[in-house]
Symmetry: C2
């Protein structure tokens, strides 16, 4: 399975600009549908993966994390930062990049921006959870929090689950306006709402993607009716939640990788043994998802390394025979591998 | 300290080719001397650093590791693989790259190849240890193991410690021949030797850099005389050592980061509480290095994240106003940081 050294010396690099070109080349809805498929493929072989908790470096103002995983054939990791105060400085709260490597040689085979790609895979992940947990006739979604993630969430739900109507709410009306404008040609019916109560009216799917680093109660218990599926994706670090604990208590809770979710997700509000089901178990049929039409299902999404792995694997496959990457000599390739010095010397 | 978004959207990338150009631009001896200085600067403020054990992903044929660290202002990590069987396939046993980021924003500020850079910093590290531990009149070094690391070790010892004579030995005479040929214009007196006993004759410094993944005894106890300083840098993973334990027992042992060295270094052969001194303590004066001229000092080098951090910091500084990098749009930079989707949409 190893390639020749001369081929492996060059690593394809996908910049932000090329990632955007690739998305438009494939079509964003198709890209989302494909990503959802790749995530399902990897979740279905969950037990194969080497699962490590993310490795964080914390400061007063944010965190830088490395998220590695491997399926035994390929190895991937993502670098991602989280700096809520960045927005005020005109910077991204979250930026990311990732690398895919060959386990057999340890050689990298893809280096890619992942700020855009993470937004896409996060949306695809919510759509996968929704496909397996929501009532099948749910075509109206309340989108609570209309920031950087929101439009991607809406497009993915349309592409994967046929959602046709979005009820938008944000504490900042300008965010809702931006979201609606961005989605004006997306083929969705968009309904800006003045209150969260209004937004969830008649919605079979509720997705919350709010960003403040505090214990929030975006939704309170009496707001959430029976039969609803909730994707809570904004609460993704210790001390940051979005839902009142009574909603969590009433819901059937589904996680990605539970040891991480207990620290970062909505269930950090609950007892350490609060019952949850991992989504891969639902996908493989090992566990039941929704038990009846009236149940409330909650996908407590925090983002996990395997989703990034799926996304990198997909991009690696899709850039072949396209102009959407540059080759970069990241690997030293001396004629004789024991003669690294000779290579450096001869370059002089 | 934050830069403007437009500046931060682009990250400088240093390829293998550009790293080699930078080395020749600065001069390899100067580069080594500078790296040794930067390592000393960082070791002198050791307690500031966030020190995490490396995060490894192991397979039957090798390991892929991430080595992060931070001084509170900058964050760096290195990706490095170790695949001993790669050499037979015409590939590098070790390849590496690294990233330096700003802690305040989480934004990367440098992406660099580190296969060449790791060889340079490993040699600079040995030279730093030698400067602080060897007898000051030691100008003859035995270089045991004449593979990919050997020439770098010799150049660093000349640049930092004024070593003028190298006694070369390798189990494979072709490796010795290659090493001697590579160093023919380095200004060193080179003495190829037929046996390890011959190589260490009259050497005040012994550096071992052998690569087999087994418990080796390159040096046995009766070979090593009083007053010698040993750099044992080839034993750097569990099950891989180079020295007979009796030599270790007779030596004053110095480490980089002891929790890691106890797993990976020569001292994995010793009791878990075998006394050692961390090199940063010698550099700051908090602990004594060599106690007398007859002592045997042993630098049990395995490589630590702070050395990579020093090297990345140095390269980041040195590439300024040079042509030895390319700018790469790794960071998504929307006009409005909450409008990532709008940026993607407008790229269509």
């Amino acid at each position: 399975m190893s390639l020749k050294a001369s081929e492996l010396a060059m690593v394809p690099f996908v910049s932000v600009d090329n990632m955007m070109r690739l998305v438009h080349h494939i079509g964003m809805e198709q890209f989302m549908a494909d990503l959802a498929h790749e995530i399902e493929v990897d979740f279905a072989r969950w037990e194969l993966f080497d699962k490590t908790p993310r490795v964080g470096s914390h400061s007063d103002v944010g965190v830088i994390e490395l998220m590695p995983t491997s399926d035994g054939t390929l190895y991937g990791f993502k670098y991602v930062n989280g700096h809520p105060k960045n927005t005020k400085e005109g910077l991204q709260t979250v930026t990311a990049f990732g690398v895919l490597s060959e386990v057999d040689t340890g050689y990298p085979i893809l280096f890619s921006e992942m700020t855009v790609l993470t937004a896409l895979r996060t949306a695809a992940m919510s759509a996968v959870a929704t496909r397996h947990l929501a009532n099948p006739d749910a075509k109206v979604m309340a989108m609570i929090g209309n920031g950087a993630q929101s439009e991607f969430q809406c497009i993915a739900q349309k592409a994967v689950n046929g959602v046709d109507t979005i009820r938008l709410y944000d504490i900042d009306p300008a965010a809702t306006e931006k979201c609606a404008k961005n989605l004006d040609a997306a083929g969705l019916t968009l309904i800006p709402c003045a209150t969260p109560e209004d937004a969830i009216e008649g919605a079979g799917i509720i997705t919350t993607a709010t960003a403040d680093k505090d214990m929030q109660t975006i939704l309170t218990d009496n707001m959430v009716g029976s039969g609803v599926h909730i994707n809570a994706i904004g609460g993704d670090c210790p001390g940051k939640t979005e839902l009142h604990r009574d909603i969590v208590a009433r819901s059937a809770v589904f996680t990605e990788y539970t040891p991480q979710t207990r620290i970062e997700g909505e269930i950090q509000q609950m007892a350490p043994d609060h019952p949850v089901t991992e989504l891969w178990e639902v996908i493989t049929g090992a566990a039941q998802g929704r038990t009846n039409g009236a149940a409330i299902t909650l996908f407590d999404g925090v983002g996990f390394a395997i989703e990034d792995f799926s996304a990198l694997r997909y991009v690696h496959e899709k850039i072949k025979d396209t102009p959407f990457y540059i080759d970069f000599d990241l690997i030293a390739d001396p004629d004789d591998p024991r003669d690294l010095f000779g290579m450096v010397k001869r370059a002089g």
